[in-house]
């Protein structure tokens, strides 16, 4: 039997789960590695005493338009949110379009309008970019590549390595909305109804949270691989264990219903408008209050804590107080959701 990991790239290498981790750490890092290349969503670099956060991303979502947003809003918000996780105030974005021959101009204009609106909302400026057009079949409608730069204020340094035992974990709202919305459209499963992507820029939420807790341990937007992947990344980076309380993680009814029919666990499904905050226990009430007062954080809850107890990296406690492990997925849950 051939080793699945070494033969060819599989779609699952892009799923945000275990194979993605393998792709980055075992295949890419041996060639491209330097001290500034960290494990967070954005690199923080010092330039003449000014700390800058720098991030890059690509968007290949199919379909291009979905309830709650489109590829344009996703591109701006995803980049803004990655900068925000580093504690940065997002400033400038680049956008590059790889467009497939035949894309209707009206679709392109709708995407551009959405980019404009999202950039205004996030208060970022798109300052450079590029366009390439490829032949029919060489792309799927449009792919967008972005990069972003933000300024990290003095004294702010949230990174997973800072996480300490006793830290509390706050999640800004429901899980699974984006992934299940895309999946339902992709497979024409007809769940439609109230399913809606949560895609949103979270920089204002993060800025407010950092005001009440400048020494936030870490932040992460749980995108591909869902809440589970983000928590496992935290645990791996800080070497501590995480226990979350199942009942405190909120799931919209439509998402829970669709997950139950499709056999998915919402804790593994992607989000595009949620933020995880890890903060010291004495600041948890202030951070929760601040997140709950922000536009996209009204349903925020404290979902768990960091411990130095023995056990598996991440576990979830059920309402009957049984524990189960939350491990990263290795398969292909659903490709091209962002």
């Amino acid at each position: 039997m051939t080793n699945q990991k070494e033969d060819r790239i599989l779609l699952a290498h892009g799923s945000g789960g275990g194979l993605s981790e393998h792709l980055i750490n075992e295949i890419i890092r041996p060639y491209i590695n330097n001290p500034d290349m960290g494990h967070d969503d954005a690199a923080v670099l010092s330039l003449n005493g000014q700390r800058l956060a720098f991030t890059a991303d690509s968007y290949v979502v199919s379909p291009l338009f979905f309830a709650g947003g489109d590829i344009g809003r996703l591109a701006v918000c995803g980049t803004v949110n990655d900068l925000s996780t580093a504690g940065a105030i997002p400033q400038y974005l680049s956008l590059s379009f790889i467009i497939e021959e035949g894309l209707p101009i009206t679709d392109f204009k709708a995407i551009l309008q959405s980019i404009k609106d999202s950039a205004v909302e996030a208060n970022v400026h798109i300052v450079t970019g590029d366009t390439k057009v490829v032949g029919k079949g060489a792309a799927d409608g449009i792919f967008i590549n972005t990069s972003g730069i933000g300024i990290v204020p003095q004294g702010i340094n949230p990174t997973a390595q800072n996480i300490k035992a006793g830290d509390q974990i706050i999640l800004s709202g429901t899980v699974g909305d984006h992934g299940i919305t895309i999946m339902s459209l992709r497979n024409e499963l007809g769940f439609g109804g109230t399913l809606k992507s949560d895609v949103a820029p979270l920089n204002h939420m993060v800025e407010a949270a950092l005001k009440v807790c400048p020494y936030m341990s870490a932040m992460r937007d749980p995108t591909r691989g869902g809440l589970t992947a983000a928590l496992n990344e935290f645990s791996q980076a800080c070497g501590l264990k995480i226990i979350i309380d199942e009942q405190s993680v909120l799931v919209n009814d439509a998402v829970a219903g669709a997950c139950s029919m499709l056999g998915f666990d919402p804790l593994y499904v992607a989000n595009e408008g949620k933020m995880l905050f890890v903060c010291p226990p004495n600041r948890v009430d202030d951070v929760l209050q601040s997140v709950k007062s922000s536009k996209y954080g009204t349903q925020a809850t404290v979902i768990g804590e960091i411990t130095n107890e023995k056990g598996v990296s991440v576990s979830v406690r059920t309402h009957l107080r049984a524990l189960r492990r939350l491990d990263v997925i290795y398969g292909e849950l659903l490709p091209r959701i962002c």
Partner: protein
């Protein structure tokens, strides 16, 4: 129906306390269905039960029991440039003698994941110049949906759609496991979805022939706990009968429409069960009237040979409930994991090894 009533409710606590109060005897209960295995692990139920109750996982994952020979047939088909393979997602990752369908796809084969047989039929309609093959795995739950798709294809004159029918029947394999005399059980948690099709009466042979209490369960936390309470109550009273803890879905006679449809399109045949071997009359094949939709007939395939496993893999014993993953060296040494699975019970999302791995052994 609001399923919330069956999860996170106070009734789960009440039932659990009742189980603890009534259970005195040693109980070894087998859950037949992979859906139950995953649910039991997901809700952490094993940790909550008194120590005299042992839950044993059975053969009930259709992906796990698909033989390597059958998978090889599917992979061989995927190499044909005129064929589009459609399949449920889990099957794509199962290792066979010739790799996986996922690897075939990354090498250029046209392999597509679908969530229903009707979606596969749609792909056939959209690709009239290709031969679209649906890999039809599943138990009695899936078989009627496959039958319905074939019928729809026949009615609408689609002539490029066939099914590689690998459907399997659950009562014959239950017979095989209970009749082998290799396993000591005190009760059976009978499958919920399968029973919704075949009816609770289909399990009467278990108490009649093997004197084992049998209770059909749903898949929510409260469903399973209630099923366990009924089973344990039978055990304590020395009773053996079929009961249903899933009455919202399971009528005694099953689903007549589905059973009639299966009767019209399929006939029983021998089937190769991975880990168990060939069992007579335990599979379904497409009957002569609909043979134009039978991949084996249309594309002239060789029917598969019996499965071979990777050395050291004990999935066969695990599927029959004789061993647990904790007795498998490949599992304990970490050389069989979801990202590099050696056996089917690790790959399938409803496999026993995957459940032990994913949810941990607390």
């Amino acid at each position: 129906m609001d399923l919330k009533a069956f999860t996170n409710s106070d009734s789960a606590k009440i039932i659990l306390n009742s189980i603890k109060a009534i259970s005195k005897k040693e109980c070894r209960l087998m859950e037949f269905c992979g859906g139950h295995t995953m649910a039991i692990f997901k809700y952490g139920l094993r940790q909550l039960l008194p120590p005299n109750i042992t839950l044993i996982s059975g053969p009930g994952c259709p992906v796990c029991v698909t033989s390597t020979g059958d998978l090889d047939m599917a992979i061989a088909l995927s190499q044909r440039s005129d064929v589009i393979i459609t399949s449920f997602g889990d099957l794509l990752r199962i290792p066979s003698n010739n790799g996986t369908l996922l690897q075939a796809r990354s090498s250029g084969a046209d392999v597509r994941t679908v969530y229903s047989t009707l979606a596969a039929l749609d792909i056939a309609k959209q690709n009239p110049h290709k031969k679209v093959v649906f890999i039809g795995i599943g138990f009695e739950t899936t078989a009627p949906t496959i039958a319905a798709a074939i019928k729809q294809a026949a009615d609408s004159g689609v002539n490029n759609f066939t099914v590689l029918c690998l459907c399997k029947l659950t009562p014959p394999v239950t017979h095989a496991i209970l009749g082998s005399g290799q396993i000591n059980l005190t009760g059976i948690i009978a499958p919920g979805h399968v029973s919704a099709i075949i009816g609770s009466d289909a399990w009467k042979f278990i108490p009649d022939k093997y004197r084992l209490p049998t209770v059909i369960s749903g898949f929510e936390e409260t469903d399973i706990l209630y099923c366990l309470e009924l089973l344990i109550s039978q055990v304590e009273k020395n009773q053996a009968k079929v009961e249903s803890a899933y009455t919202r879905s399971v009528p005694p006679q099953g689903n007549k429409v589905a059973l009639d449809l299966m009767g019209e399109l399929f006939e029983s045949t021998r089937a190769d069960w991975r880990g168990i071997g060939i069992l007579p009359n335990s599979g379904l094949k497409i009957c002569q009237k609909y043979q134009d939709f039978d991949t084996v007939h249309v594309l002239g395939l060789e029917v598969s040979q019996e499965s071979k496993e990777v050395p050291g893999c004990i999935c066969g014993d695990i599927i029959r409930g004789l061993k647990t993953p904790m007795e498998c060296n490949l599992f304990l040494k970490g050389s069989c994991t979801p990202q590099n699975a050696k056996g089917p019970c690790m790959v399938s999302s409803e496999g026993t090894c995957a459940a032990y791995y994913q949810y941990g052994t607390y």
